[in-house]
């Protein structure tokens, strides 16, 4: 099969690359140094490789690199550049929602993607929103609380939602 030339932006940076048709976006991102995108299963089971593609949360291991051609990708390295991303990071740290940290970047991206769409969810909605991402250390409680804290703050900001 032929290789393809693709172009995408990752965290605002333009990336040009020659990719094989079967290459995953995860493999491409990691090969370009975006090691904050973690590889846990390469089958779409664990969700820790979650990134945002044109604003939508996707599992990068089951997304082909070619599908990202012309798209805009955000990884966890972009979080601190957005108000809500920074708030989520602070909240995870404050709540002790991190243990081994291997799911953390995927968890944060899922939370960011979800809060962008639904800024004021309740805890059950948060649980559903992150249910595609496995965590083996925390039992999820502190993660849900950390995300809920940010959502609650949004709730108080009548219409003035962080983005």
């Amino acid at each position: 099969m032929e290789d393809y030339q693709i172009e995408l932006t990752v965290n605002g940076e333009k990336i040009c690359s020659v990719v094989q048709p079967e290459q995953s976006l995860l493999k491409l991102l990691r090969s370009k140094g975006f090691t904050e995108v973690k590889c846990g299963c390469e089958k779409g089971d664990c969700g820790i490789c979650t990134v945002l593609m044109n604003g939508k949360t996707i599992k990068s291991c089951i997304t082909l690199a070619m599908q990202a051609n012309g798209k805009e990708i955000f990884t966890a390295k972009s979080l601190e550049k957005t108000k809500i991303g920074r708030k989520l990071q602070e909240s995870f740290v404050k709540h002790g929602a991190i243990q081994c940290g291997f799911c953390t970047t995927g968890m944060l991206m899922a939370a960011k993607g979800y809060l962008d769409k639904n800024p004021v969810p309740d805890k059950n909605e948060i649980r559903k929103a992150i249910s595609g991402i496995l965590c083996r250390c925390t039992g999820y409680k502190k993660i849900v609380e950390a995300i809920y804290d940010v959502a609650e703050e949004n709730h108080k900001l009548e219409g003035g939602i962080h983005v």
């Binding site: 709540h95 002790g96 970047t105 999820y140």
Partner: protein, 765 residues
């Protein structure tokens, strides 16, 4: 005087993790690096006749193909960081690669190693290796494997790895005196750690011929074992441990290290190896499957007079930590109950399944599932409240374990923890659906923290005050995600009055940081916490003596608070910490200390009748659970979990809660969905599609209650909680299912199918 201890301060590694800056084992690469892949056995039981690597070797881009013939010492013994030889059957065979003419013991057993310019080439080369096998029948069931003429898993040695016993009183007399006797059999499956970070590492040679290995391992002391394999002096193999993406015992054995070290030695190039998820699930150790037969005799008033337990542990294909697990199970078999007549027998048996080794709980869980299911059954039989039955029989501070007779001198938080956990459930949920039954269950137990005392465990830590008042910690401690490294910083900062942001810990390097021992056995808070405290106190004493001279007071009158050495009764009188440091340095007073903490040491016990101290101490606790069971579908929903433990002292409450919450939800998976099924040696769960661990929608908010007795052997009276917090949850859920449905689950996980089958039995009676 505690300033940082007891505070839920953010971990030092937290920001590196939320920003994604932290480099895990598979995030590291070096110029000219090669990629490794492993050729593994396709059969669970076979004789390896021959290996032909010629086609693989001639593939373009392949740099090395190694078999057992290329391994300087292919067979050594398993060690786990202990610096003394235990022997007595505790060390098993460590075989790096399968050998021609010898037996293959499990599917996935490594046969040959490949290093190539890309992963794809390495994988292609693996497929070109031609292996001739002579298939053998194998034995997969431990009860079959114990029979006299059973197929031998190994070459000559018996399938029974170890036998342990524990006898107290007169078991026959005990049952004769009993008014009620119950008997049961439980089957507990293999389960997987399912950490999210697959095994990974990279190795390289430095300019002095030293092998460097950067790896996620719970035991950096394996540098010695890899040196033995390579036939190099111990000081020529260096481990650089990374922050670990979860371990739970699964990264206690050697994983990728011997393979990459051998390939680096051969090619002189950096070599990286990262397991795929499938490879990880199929080829790393499992938690021991157990078959348990229990018999308990009691008086009508609930007083237990006799307990007999017979355990068969399925060790899989190789010994690894099996003997130790067998000992833990045996010691834990009576739980926290006072029982005069006891007979325990444990047999650990080899089979042609993937080998079993360490897993959070380490034999204690399997015992806990048995005895706490039996306690619930006994309460039902006697028509007693399950909590009352536990109150009547539980041990108290100063009592001896009913197995080994070891006296517990620290606080035995029972029945307090059980009462608090039970009360913590609050008002029961009301079921709106007539098919959904609500039930509650309770379980309590004990578990050791710290390694077995005959391992003669120790830990070291280095603490240094810099001239600018910043603090340096050096420790060989591996961080599993429990906050192990940050805790050492917190302890030293607390003693030396330095804020956390001025502490920097250098960690987990087998050659440059003092060896802290393994991050296993719930030992790091206890062992390395004490080593850090001792080192920090040494530095603190030197500072105080010099500052006392300057301030013209007695050192006892001084404290260090917020970077000032203050006079306790008049804090307006002080010396800034940097001034005290300058004074010490001018006078040549040492502002560093490397301290060692030793656990209590004992001799190896008589394994046929374990007696006396086998562990430094135990942690006690309980969990209470409320479930909703749909009797039409068999579906179980866990509505509430209350976890209550005596943690001694919660040094960082957020971290302790994290262990208790995570332990509970890992246990929820063990109870309801996790089962590493192996059929005739063939694993049936090669991915997270088949091996189901709890997600955020399966997990209720765990309510944690921490009792702080300050009686533990750790720093400031702390007890270890990592493994104990994974106890009790499984039987608590099973007992709640019984309460809701009348179905006693004796073979976990309690799947919908098993519950429906159990209910049907009731219908057809």
């Amino acid at each position: 005087m505690s300033k940082l201890i007891g505070k839920a301060i953010p971990r030092q590694d937290a920001w590196a993790k939320v920003t994604g800056e932290l480099k895990y084992a598979d995030d590291f690469s070096l110029p000219g690096m090669l990629y490794a892949k492993i050729c593994r056995s396709k059969y669970p039981a076979a004789k390896l006749i021959s290996i032909d690597i010629s086609k693989a070797q001639s593939l373009a881009g392949v740099k090395a193909v190694l078999t057992a013939r290329d391994v300087p010492r292919n067979e050594t013994v398993t060690k786990f960081g202990q610096s003394t030889d235990v022997r007595g059957g505790f060390e098993g065979l460590y075989r790096v690669l399968a050998e021609e003419g010898k037996k293959i013991r499990y599917i996935g057993e490594p046969i040959a190693l490949v290093a190539a310019e890309s992963e794809a080439i390495a994988q292609k080369a693996v497929e070109l290796i031609e292996i001739e096998y002579e298939l053998l029948p194998g034995v997969f069931d431990p009860e079959e494997a114990m029979k006299p003429n059973a197929y031998l898993v190994g070459e000559k040695e018996s399938n029974i790895v170890n036998e342990f016993g524990c006898i107290n009183g007169d078991i026959k007399k005990g049952f004769a005196e009993s008014e009620v006797i119950i008997e049961d059999r439980f089957e507990i499956p293999f389960i997987d750690h399912a950490y999210l970070e697959p095994e990974a590492g990279i190795s390289w040679l430095d300019e002095y011929g030293t092998i460097n290995i950067r790896v996620c391992s719970q035991v950096i002391e394996h540098f010695r074992d890899v040196a033995e394999v390579l036939n190099l002096p111990h000081n020529k193999v260096r481990y650089i441990g990374t922050m670990i993406g979860g371990g739970f015992g699964g990264k206690e054995d050697i994983t990728v290290e011997s393979f990459i070290a051998l390939l680096t030695l051969k090619t002189k190039k950096p070599v990286r190896l990262v397991y795929t998820r499938e490879e990880s699930l199929i080829t790393h150790c499992k938690k021991h499957a157990f078959i348990e037969k229990y018999k308990i005799g009691a008086k009508k008033n609930g007083k237990i007079v006799a307990l007999e337990a017979d355990y068969i542990g399925n060790a899989g294909a190789y010994t690894y930590l099996t003997p130790w697990v067998g000992l833990y199970a045996t010691v834990s078999a009576t739980g926290p109950y006072k029982i005069p007549n006891v007979k325990i027998k444990t047999q650990m048996v080899l089979t042609n399944n993937i080998y079993a080794s360490a897993f959070r709980g380490f034999g204690s869980n399997q015992a806990n599932i048995g005895y706490e299911s039996m306690m619930d059954e006994l309460a039902r039989k006697l028509n007693m409240d399950p909590l009352d039955l536990r109150r009547i029989n539980c041990m108290h501070t100063g009592d001896a374990l009913s197995t080994t007779g070891q006296i517990i001198k620290t606080y035995v938080a029972l029945p307090e923890a059980a009462e608090k956990a039970w009360a913590g459930l609050g008002e029961p949920e009301f079921s709106k659906n007539k098919n959904v039954k609500i039930g509650r269950g309770l379980a309590m137990g004990l578990m050791s923290y710290g390694r077995m005392t005959f391992l003669r465990d120790s830990s070291r830590c280095y603490v240094k005050l810099e001239t600018d008042g910043s603090l340096i910690i050096r420790s060989g401690i591996p961080d599993l995600g429990g906050g192990q490294i940050s805790l050492l910083s917190q302890i030293a900062a607390n003693e030396l009055g330095v804020p956390m942001n001025k502490v920097k810990a250098y960690y987990t390097d087998s050659m440059l940081t003092p060896l802290a021992g393994t991050t296993t056995a719930t030992r790091q808070t206890y062992m390395s916490g004490n080593a850090a405290l001792k080192a920090a106190k040494n530095v603190r004493n030197n500072i105080l003596i010099k500052a006392a001279e300057v301030l013209n007071v007695h050192p006892d009158q001084l404290d260090i608070v917020s970077e000032k050495v203050v006079v306790k009764y008049d804090q307006s009188e002080y010396l800034h910490l940097t001034e005290a440091i300058r004074a010490c340095n001018t006078a040549g007073i040492e502002l560093f200390s490397e301290a060692q903490f030793n656990a209590p040491f004992t001799a190896i016990p008589d394994l046929s009748n374990l007696k006396g101290m086998t562990f430094p101490d135990f942690a006690f606790g309980a969990q209470a659970v409320e479930v909703a069971v749909d009797i039409e579908t068999g579906e179980v929903k866990v509505l509430k979990i209350v976890s209550c433990y005596d943690v001694g002292k919660a040094l960082n409450p957020a971290s302790v809660e994290g262990q208790m919450e995570g332990g509970s939800i890992q246990g929820l998976g063990y109870a309801l969905s996790e089962d590493f099924v192996i059929k005739r040696g063939i694993p049936q769960s090669p991915s997270f599609t088949e091996y189901i661990i709890p997600t955020s929608v399966d997990a209720p908010d765990v309510k944690t209650i921490m009792i702080e007795s300050a009686s533990g052997l750790g720093p400031y009276g702390a007890k270890g909680i990592g493994e104990p917090s994974f106890n009790n949850i499984v039987p608590a859920i099973l007992n709640a299912i019984y309460d809701a449905t009348g179905v006693r689950i004796k073979r976990i996980p309690a799947t919908a199918e098993r519950i429906i089958r159990g209910l049907k039995k009731e219908y057809f009676k």
